[in-house]
């Protein structure tokens, strides 16, 4: 692994910090001149705060605790970089123009192909649903989401996550996820966790509609453990109604940090959600609204929470399904909630 990527030792904040970071992520070496002017970052991203001489990078105890409690990642730099417009603005390379054209044409073409509609697997953004994939099938699922700044904690930067997982249906009750998750800020990107998750649907998947229940259990092994501790979670999902009609959902789950590394806090996180989805025009398209919440319990019995309310649109056709939406942080209800959380989930079946 390229140590510069892991530790961000040389990929620092440039005059156009995001540009330099993105180029770096693409594995390009050209921004070297820019990087030479980069603001130096701590050599060891896991070094203790006491040895960090850069005051702007220092994390105070309160924020550090919150990060661990919620699994937030700061990357290596707390200072936020503003997004700048592309230097190519107004002069987009011709290849990009054609790429956009082909992309748009592909979308239009796909929408015109007379393929049967298979109900989207997941109309909700954060909450679980009770649907699982058919026995013996394999899907590849990707989640992309970000959290904006927290009004009450302006020093915590916006963060971005990428989640990839194969989904293997072991039976018509049980499916297995093996996800890999990356976390990034505007100046760094890190492999955050490796996980394994089982989802067990109590009634077989061919019995759709009515009351359905699903139990999920996961273990998350932290890789970039400065961002979040390893953890395990367990949850129950209840739904009512066919996916192709009004579909109601409720979630309740518990996440606990594992006792490694020893020096980390061991908070318990209670998670809960409720929502509803309904087809729009056809079963290919579904609209959903959801409320998501979580409360972190500390040893001192102090509770800190995050709450979101938002909506999503889910589209499915053939072997592909996509769900995209926006969650708004209920900052008035819990001040540690980010203001926005846009999220995109898509999957392709093999």
């Amino acid at each position: 692994m390229d140590p510069r990527v892991k530790g961000g030792e040389t990929a620092g904040k440039t005059r156009d910090g995001l540009q330099g970071s993105r180029s770096y992520l693409r594995g390009l070496t050209k921004p070297r001149r820019r990087l030479s002017r980069a603001k130096p970052l701590p050599k060891d991203p896991f070094a203790s705060k006491d040895t960090d001489s850069n005051a702007s990078l220092r994390v105070d105890d309160e924020i550090s605790h919150l990060l661990h409690c919620y699994g937030w990642s700061l990357g290596d730099n707390l200072e936020l970089t503003s997004l700048r417009s592309s230097p190519h603005k107004g002069a987009m390379p011709r290849t990009w123009g054609w790429a956009h054209f082909f992309c748009a044409a592909s979308i239009v073409g796909c929408s015109l192909i007379p393929t049967p509609a298979i109900a989207g697997r997941r109309p909700f953004l954060l909450a679980y649903d009770s649907e699982i994939i058919p026995e013996g099938d394999v899907e590849l699922e990707q989640w992309l989401w970000s959290e904006s700044k927290i009004p009450a904690r302006p020093r915590i930067p916006a963060r971005y996550w990428v989640y990839w997982s194969p989904v293997i249906a072991l039976s018509n009750h049980l499916e297995l996820y093996l996800p890999v998750q990356w976390v990034a800020t505007s100046t760094s990107a890190n492999l955050e966790t490796l996980s394994a998750e089982l989802r067990y649907r109590i009634f077989p998947r061919e019995h759709e509609g009515g009351f359905q229940a699903l139990i999920h259990a996961a273990i998350h092994q932290a890789v970039f453990f400065r961002a979040a501790p390893s953890s395990a979670d367990l949850g129950l999902v209840a739904t009512y109604g066919s996916p192709n009609q009004l579909h109601l959902m409720a979630n309740f789950g518990v996440q606990a940090a594992l006792p490694w590394p020893e020096h980390m806090a061991r908070p318990i996180l209670l998670e809960y959600a409720a929502g509803a989805a309904h087809p729009l025009f056809s079963t290919e398209l579904r609209l959903a609204v959801e409320f998501d919440g979580e409360i972190g319990l500390r040893a001192t019995q102090e509770t800190i929470g995050r709450h979101f309310l938002g909506g999503a649109i889910a589209w499915s056709r053939g072997r592909v399904w996509i769900t995209a939406g926006f969650l708004f942080g209920l900052t008035g209800l819990s001040e540690l909630t980010p203001r926005y959380m846009p999220r995109l989930i898509w999957a392709v079946a093999f």
Partner: protein, 225 residues
């Protein structure tokens, strides 16, 4: 004790009366096909045409119809049922099948159960449900989800008989996979047998279809056992 006897007595007295109040339909479906010269000719075997009445509802019977997958074939390949009934799909082959339907009346995908395993699907909406296998293109079955029990399959000579039909004015249909359905209006009178003749002409011989994701089937050797 006396009241119970009274109830049983009333039921015993009413039962023959209600049976007598029902009517029946009998008749023949004349099945034609088109020969190589494009001429319409009678088909010698007119069996497996579904004849059914539309216009009244009845509850689903308690029995469990079964469709087997055997020798890469659905058995039976045509199954009329009453709405609300459950059908059991059993893999009686030594190879894997993936039974699915994308019909609007009931979308389902049973995955790939192992040999000998069964899956049950309930049909809550009337309509025509085409059932396929995502692995073996040649496997085709059709389930007709009907509103009542007044249905039957024709014999080889095309004859049919529907009994126990409540009196009324109904539409009588004859359905075959390769033909457009035929329709006739019938009046069922209490205790009387009504006659009807229907004609079907087979014109749909192309039974190609798409896989469960809307993809054409790939030409492939037999799926390994």
């Amino acid at each position: 004790m006396g009241s119970r006897l009274l109830v049983f007595g009333l039921l015993a007295a009413l039962a023959p009366a209600s049976l007598a109040a029902e009517g029946s339909v009998h008749g023949t479906v004349r099945l034609f096909t088109v020969n190589e010269a494009g001429q319409r000719v009678p088909k010698p075997d007119a069996s497996s045409v579904v004849v059914y009445l539309i216009g009244f509802n009845q509850p689903a019977p308690a029995d469990l119809p079964r469709i087997s997958q055997k020798n890469k074939t659905f058995i039976p390949d045509i199954l009329p049922i009453v709405v609300g009934q459950t059908v059991e799909f059993t893999n009686d082959d030594n190879i894997i099948h993936n039974v699915f339907s994308t019909s609007k009346a009931r979308i389902f995908d049973l995955g790939k159960p192992r040999a000998g395993e069964s899956r049950r699907v309930k049909f809550d909406q009337t309509g025509l449900v085409d059932v396929y296998c995502d692995i073996h293109e040649q496997m085709i079955a059709t389930i007709l989800v009907l509103p009542n029990r007044a249905f039957t399959l024709t014999g080889a000579d095309g004859s049919f008989s529907l009994k126990g039909v409540p009196p009324g004015h109904y539409s009588l249909f004859a359905w075959s996979r390769a033909a457009n359905p035929a329709r006739a209006e019938v009046d069922i009178l209490p205790g009387q047998d009504t006659g009807a003749t229907l004609e079907l002409t087979e014109t749909k011989f192309n039974l190609t279809h798409l896989g469960k994701y809307g993809q054409p089937y790939r030409k492939q050797p037999d799926y390994p056992p």
